[in-house]
Every structure is written in C-alpha cells, then in structure tokens.
Symmetry: none
Subunit: 498 residues, 2 copies
C-alpha cells in the first residue's frame, strides 16, 4: 500500500507545520510583545509557504487523488481521511497562486482598514474593501465550481451539507416564530435591569471562580490551561493540548463566567476526541455548527439552567458576598437570562441572539445572490434591526461594522452560530430521554453528561459528518423545531407565566 504510506508521510509533515504555526499563533494572541510582529510575520509566512507548497505538491496531490479513486476499498476511517484531504485540496488547488496571494494581501489590508473604520465609525472607509472582498470571493468560487449561487458554496465551506435552501427553512422558522415571541417577552419583561449584573467584581476573584468552573466541568489541566486574551477563544493542536482564554470585565462578571463555560464546551469537545485520531486529519471537531452546538450546550443549556446554579450559586455568593448576598437564586437566574434589545451580537442574550444571526444571514444572502450594492448595506442593516429587534444602531460601529468576519472574507460563517444553538437543542431533547438532566445538575454531577456527549459526539472528531451525527444521535435529521420549542418553553416560564 505504497500510495497510502506516501499520503500519511506527507500528512504528518503537514501536521508538524500546522503544530508549529499553531503554537506561534497561541503566543501571538496571548502574550507576544508588540514589537516582535514584523519579523515574526515574515518568518512564519515562510513556514506557511513551505506547508502550502507541500500540500499542493504533485506527490501529495497524486496520492490523494489515487486514494480517492480507490476509496471504496478503504476502511471507514481511512476513507474519511481521504475525503477530508480531497475536500481541502479541491478548495485550494484550482485557485491560481497569484490570485490567492493577492487575496491574502487584500484580507490583511482589509482587516486593518476595518479596525480603523470601526474605531472611527466610518463605513465609507471600509466600503471599497468590502466590495472588493465580495467580488473576489465570487470569483474564487467560480474557479472551484460552475455555479450561479456562490453563497451556497460558501455555506457548504463552513458547514458541510448546508445550503441556502436548508438555511432558508431554518431562518424562516426563526423569523415567523421567534421574532413575535421576542416582542411578547420584551413587552412583559420588568423594566429595571437588576443592578447586580453590572456591579463591580474584582478581576482576581473572577479568575478564581473560572478556575472553579474548570473543575466543575471536569476540564483536565494536565492537557490544557486557562489564560487571558482580548477575545476569548479555544485553541487546540491535538487531544492532549487544548487551551482556552477568557477576559475579565470588572463591571460585567457574566462575561468571564459564560465565556468560560462556552469555551469549556469547545475545549471538552476537542479533548474528548479519540486519541487514536491524533495521527489523522480527523482529530478535530467535525464542523463549525457542531462545535458551536457543544459550546452553546455548555454555556446555555447547562450554564444558564437554574438547576446548575442551585448547586453552585452559593460558591459564587461566597466569592462575591457584597454583590450577591442579597440576590436570591431566582433573581440570579433571571439575571443570567435577562432578555433585552441590544445592538451588539456578542453581548446578546440567548433568546435574541438568533435574531442577530438572522439579520446577518439575510444580509449575506442579499450581497451574494441579489447583488445588492454595498452602498445601501448600512441602511438595510439598520432597517432589519428595527424590524426584528426594535432597536436601531446609532453608529455604523454598533451596526454593520461591529463584527470582524467580513473583513476576513468569512461569508457563510455567521449562520453556523445559530445552527449550533439549534443542534444543541435537538441533542438536548434526546439526552433527556437517557439522563435525568435536572437531577444531575442539582447534584453537581456533570460526569454522566460529559460522558454522554463524548460517547455520542465528541469521540468521533471528523469521522462523522454533521448530518450523520444528528441522525445517529437523535434518530432524525436536523429539525429546528426543537430549538424553537426549547427557547419558548424556557423564556415563557421566565417572563410570561404570571
């Protein structure tokens, strides 16, 4: 089986480059001193260049193509490896090198311009770059596919198997069912936001509580660590090294608590992937959507459940007696599930969050498929905000300029966030048939829940596609109704009961 060995040998080298670049990126994002970057960027681009040359070398491409032709003779795992490799190659091989290089340069420039534009609240500054990125993205798709729907290709890039047709159905359900429901909740909600939410919480104490959460969620500190960074993220190279970061806002303690639980969801997924997959290209989460389903399962379904806090609220009160000793568990539970109209996606609550994504999905769809002019985008953005969330951003920075994604060319990424929440609700429905979820949370025993997720989802890494996972775990294909029902039940009980 010489071709297979060649494939694996080169793959191993690619994994080595990737590990080295990954470690450098962890360093860059958490502690590297600011003057090191020009030299570092130049040197690391040499390493990525080597890696790219190897991945597109006739030797590797030939091996992948040959194995792909003969894939029916391979074991399920080997076949999946080859399919993954082929999928990656298809994305990069057909794009002329200079087009790609120009695009990377454009993105580098755009991200800087976007930062300036956001800081100076100046959409016009970013507009020409956005226009160019969209045009290039459309062009890049044409190298790869003969399609009149480039957005479909991008959606599939971020979540294999997804398309406008499927997302339309999903977001239609959100639009018809959640938009009016949110209005109902907001109308019924008490006016005054509880003061404890934005009280002062000492940073060092927040960190101590996050460390408590790591223990509660059974995060293995022999295989990872917690650090601080401007934007929380999870970082992993293989199952034995999965780290995450949070940030500590002293006037918003929920930021570190729920970012931590969110990142713990991502991290546990990566840590629980079968160690045997570490020598393959399957040793990471299967898709953006499934990854997000795990982070949101932990953050929202566990972390914002009353049963969870019935066990752990005392510890939080003990850590912050001044802020919380007068706050009852019921009031705290309402506080961590406080619903409000807000402009900024990353600060949105669980219930309004999918509406933020709905807006972005419709915007991207309009940009790519209806060829809407970039000139009119801010107006359209604000109009949708008003329609769905009854709030209008007063600046572009709080509106269309708020997210980094588009400046990095990541169109088709946003929808996976909402999809992840919906997957999570569907998994949750099945889990409740196997486990007494509430009793476990009340007992503070997360092991059966972790084990269930590991057993049904985590261990497989990329061995199973998102569609396959949904089917295997829940017995049916993706069905957004679980999500709608979960949200309605939870928030009806919280806000509409009386």
């Amino acid at each position: 089986m010489q071709t297979w060995d060649r494939f694996k040998a080169i793959q191993k080298k690619l994994k080595a480059y990737s590990l080295a670049l990954n470690i450098a990126s962890w360093d860059s994002n958490t502690e590297a001193p600011k003057k090191c970057f020009p030299y570092r960027a130049e040197m690391l681009s040499i390493i990525s260049g080597e890696s790219f040359a190897l991945e597109t070398s006739p030797e590797y491409v030939g091996a992948v193509e040959a194995m792909y032709e003969a894939r029916e003779n391979l074991s399920a795992q080997d076949r999946e490896e080859v399919i993954q490799a082929k999928r990656t190659l298809d994305k990069i091989l057909k794009i002329p090198k200079d087009v790609y290089t120009d695009y990377v340069k454009l993105l580098n420039m755009s991200q800087r311009i976007w930062e300036d534009a956001k800081e100076n609240d100046d959409y016009d500054l970013f507009k020409p770059y956005l226009e160019k990125i969209v045009a290039t993205q459309k062009q890049l798709v044409t190298y790869r596919h003969d399609t009149s729907d480039p957005y479909n290709v991008l959606l599939d890039d971020f979540e294999a198997g997804m398309s406008m047709e499927k997302y339309d159905a999903f977001f239609d359900a959100i639009k018809t069912e959640l938009v009016p429901f949110v209005k109902e909740v907001l109308a019924a909600r008490p006016n005054k936001k509880p003061a404890f939410i934005e009280a002062f919480y000492d940073k060092a104490d927040q960190k101590r509580f996050v460390e408590k959460l790591m223990a509660i969620f059974q995060y293995d500190t022999d295989r990872g660590l917690l650090k601080e960074s401007v934007h929380p993220f999870t970082w992993n190279t293989h199952s034995q090294d999965v780290r995450f970061t949070v940030r500590y806002l002293e006037n918003f303690v929920f930021s570190s608590i729920f970012a931590a639980i969110h990142e713990l969801g991502h991290a546990l997924y990566e840590m629980n992937i079968a160690e045997a997959l570490d020598t393959t290209n399957l040793n990471t989460g299967t898709s953006m959507g499934i990854h997000e389903s795990q982070s949101r399962f932990y953050e929202n379904i566990i972390g914002r459940d009353k049963a969870f806090w019935s066990k752990h609220y005392q510890a939080l009160q003990d850590m912050f007696p001044k802020q919380l000793s007068d706050v009852s568990l019921d009031d705290f539970y309402l506080g961590i599930n406080w619903v409000e109209e807000s402009c900024i996606r990353v600060e949105a609550d669980e219930l309004t969050y999918p509406l933020h994504i709905l807006i972005r999905y419709e915007m991207e769809r309009a940009i790519f498929n209806d060829g809407i002019d970039v000139e009119t985008l801010p107006k359209l953005w604000n109009h949708k905000m008003k329609t769905y969330l009854n709030i209008e951003p007063s600046t572009a920075s709080e509106g269309i300029l708020q997210d980094v994604h588009w400046s990095g060319g990541a169109f088709g990424y946003f929808p996976t966030y909402a999809l992840g929440s919906a997957y999570a609700a569907q998994f949750y429905d099945t889990m409740q048939k196997d486990l007494d979820f509430t009793a476990l949370l009340e007992a503070g025993d997360l092991k059966p829940i972790n084990d269930w997720l590991k057993d049904k989802i985590h261990q497989f890494g990329k061995l199973k596609s998102p569609e396959q996972l949904l089917l295997d775990v829940t017995g049916e294909p993706f069905n957004p109704q679980y999500y709608i029902r979960y949200l309605k039940e939870k928030y009806r009980a919280l806000y509409l009961k009386g």
Copy 2:
C-alpha cells in the same frame, strides 16, 4: 553574486524554522500542559529534521563552502557570517540525519523526565536517559572528530577556543586560591544567618519588585516579557523579542531578585545587539562565556554592590516593611553577600559559586574522559561537595538532579558560568577607568553603564569572537587573576577586616 543570494535565501528559511522551534520551546518551558509532550516531541522533531535536511543540503553546503573559500573578498560582516555558518556545518555535517532526529526526540523526552525525577527525588528515573544522552553525545563527537578527548570538543562548542588545558589552568587557580580562601571566610563569618534572608516574602509582592527592577535596568517591555518557570532563563529570537523568567520562593526573596537581575543581564545583551544583524546569523551573543559575563556583571557587580542598594533599598523596604524595616543597609548588604556552604548552585552566593562549577567541571571531565558509570555519579557528586564545600546533599534533587543542563545534552556548558564571572571581573576593571561606577550606582543612573556595555560588547553580537572582545575591550587576553582579586578584595572587606 548568485552564491551569496543562495546562501542568504536558505539561511532565511533556516531562521524561520528556528523561530518556530524557539517559540514552541518557550511554550514548553513556561506553560505547556504536561500531557502534550509525546505528540509535540514527535512533531517538532519533524521540523528540526526539515531544518537539518536544508542546512545539510548540497545546495546550502556548496554555497557556504564556496563563500568560505572566497571569504577574503567579503566585507567583515559577511565574512563573519560565512565563518559562523561553516563552523556550524563542521559540527553537524557528518552526523547521520536519523541519529540527529532521534537525539532531538530523546532530549525532548529527557527534559520532561528530568522534571519528574527532580520533583520525586528519583535519580533512577533519570539515570537511563542520562546514560543514553552521554552515549549519544560521545557518538556524535566521533562523527565529527577523530579524537580521544570528546570533552574538548564539547568545551569548544560552548566557548570557541576553550579546551581542557585552558580550563584546567583556570580551575586550578580557583582550587588553589579560592577553596582555601572560602574556608577562611567561612571560619571568620558570624554563625547566625540574619533571619530576614529567609523570612516570608509574598509572591505577588516579589513579582512587583521584579517589575520595578525591570524598569531600573531599562528593560523594554515592548520587546519582551517576564514569566515564571521552574528554572529561570532568558529566551530570544531576535532583538525585538527577548523574554526572561524567574521563580518566586516565598522563603527566599533573594532568589527572584538576583535571578531577575541575572536574566536582565542576558536579556539586555540580546536586546542591544544591532538590529541590522537580525537578518544574519550573527544576531545573538557571541559565546556562552561572554553571555554569562553580562548576566553576572549585572547580578553581582551591579546587583550585589552596596552603592546600588544605597539607591534602591528604600523601595524594597517599603515593599516589605515587616521583614526589612529593622534591617540597616549595612546588614542588608552583608545579607545579599552572605557566604555559606550550600547544596544548590543557583542559590549559591557569589564567592562559593565557582566551587559549584569546579565540581561540575570535574564531574563532566570524569564522565567523558574517564568513562565513569552513571550509577556512581551521585556518590561522586556528594564526595566532591564534601571536599570543596564541606556540605553533603541529603537528596538527589538537592544534588545531581538539581540542574536542567544535562537533561538537555548540554555538557561543557557549566564551565562557561565561572568563565563568565571571570570575564566580567576583567571588563569591570576596564570600565572603572572610564566611568565613576560607584557614583552612577548611587545616583541610580544605569544608562551610562548600559551604554558602555552596549557600545563595547553588546552591539556586536557574534561579529567579534570572545577572544577578540576581551582584547578590544580590556587590551589583554583573558586573565583569571582579575576575578580572583575582585573576589578576595570584596569578601576580605566584608568578612576578614576586623
């Protein structure tokens, strides 16, 4: 000048690999979770393998050889670059690739094992690795040289131009002049160690004082950072990224203070190298000995001088009033220069320190030239401690397992520490002719001293050999008598005057 361009192009790639490996090593030594190492070691060995293959490729070797032949036509800087490249090639060319790759893997693993062994006071755990490292080192030398004295080769690796013959002379001076002098000092020394030395000093406050020291010594935090690790070290990739670590012992505050000043000496050396050298292979300190001369100059000649503390002692007292408000400057000065028999090299005082190195030099000499069995090493170690320092370690962790060096294959390294102190004393003698050293310390103005060292030593990186530097700066070759005289004068005044 096609050959030159080829040389520089490949060198740039080598520097990229080296940067990536360096960043990984910083991570490994400061925070990487313990279970990540087997996979990481395997992957990084692939990168070193690639780098090794490139450095030993006919294309690069041919370019270096050709430039070396024509070196008389090159500028001084280019010539030195080629000489360095040739020197490195001479060291590695004859080593088979798989032997080298296996060795790198062995070292990655050994360092982890050593940490465990030290923590668990278990020499037997480390023994087989040590044995394998020594055997491999000997084997590696035989690939390079037809010699019956492998240790000579290793000594020259760490300090170009040094040999057993020269070190024997140096350590003979230490043995004949310092060993009896130390006994004299110890006999005259008051019995009771001042209590403030080992009082409790809060770790967070120690860190704050180390940060103060960084400012005092004009360390640029835009080009580096401070972190914590088991064994303090300085790390650098180029002049714009030079970091260092210390550790905080709550019952021995001098550990963090003087480790910090020591590492600051290493770090300032690297930061002060001309930025123009960053694109060459000359952008690091010229030798271990010269590097150590700078760290020890800062640590001992500045950091343990009374004039230095006449300026900064108040700040330390303010940070630790409970421990120090009743301690006079004179008593503090005696405390930071307290001489005693001790087991741990890195905690040793300035005067007994060279005796710790004498022991290691003799141990390594015995291991490599007398072929002594690893089984008997702990006994031999303890015997020498007893003879020279009149103290015997009660555990392996306090004896033979205390240092990281051997687990990293660094035999021949230790002697450069004592050599560095001796170089430093020789530089100091010259500096005092140019600057009013004491007045500057009393004024807290380290800039002229930093500038003098930058101007005479730091900026040149590897452009000048150790021998050349000594000659250019002090007007004479290395002369150990400056060191002996410096120590005797200082410690006679402190302990033998009355």
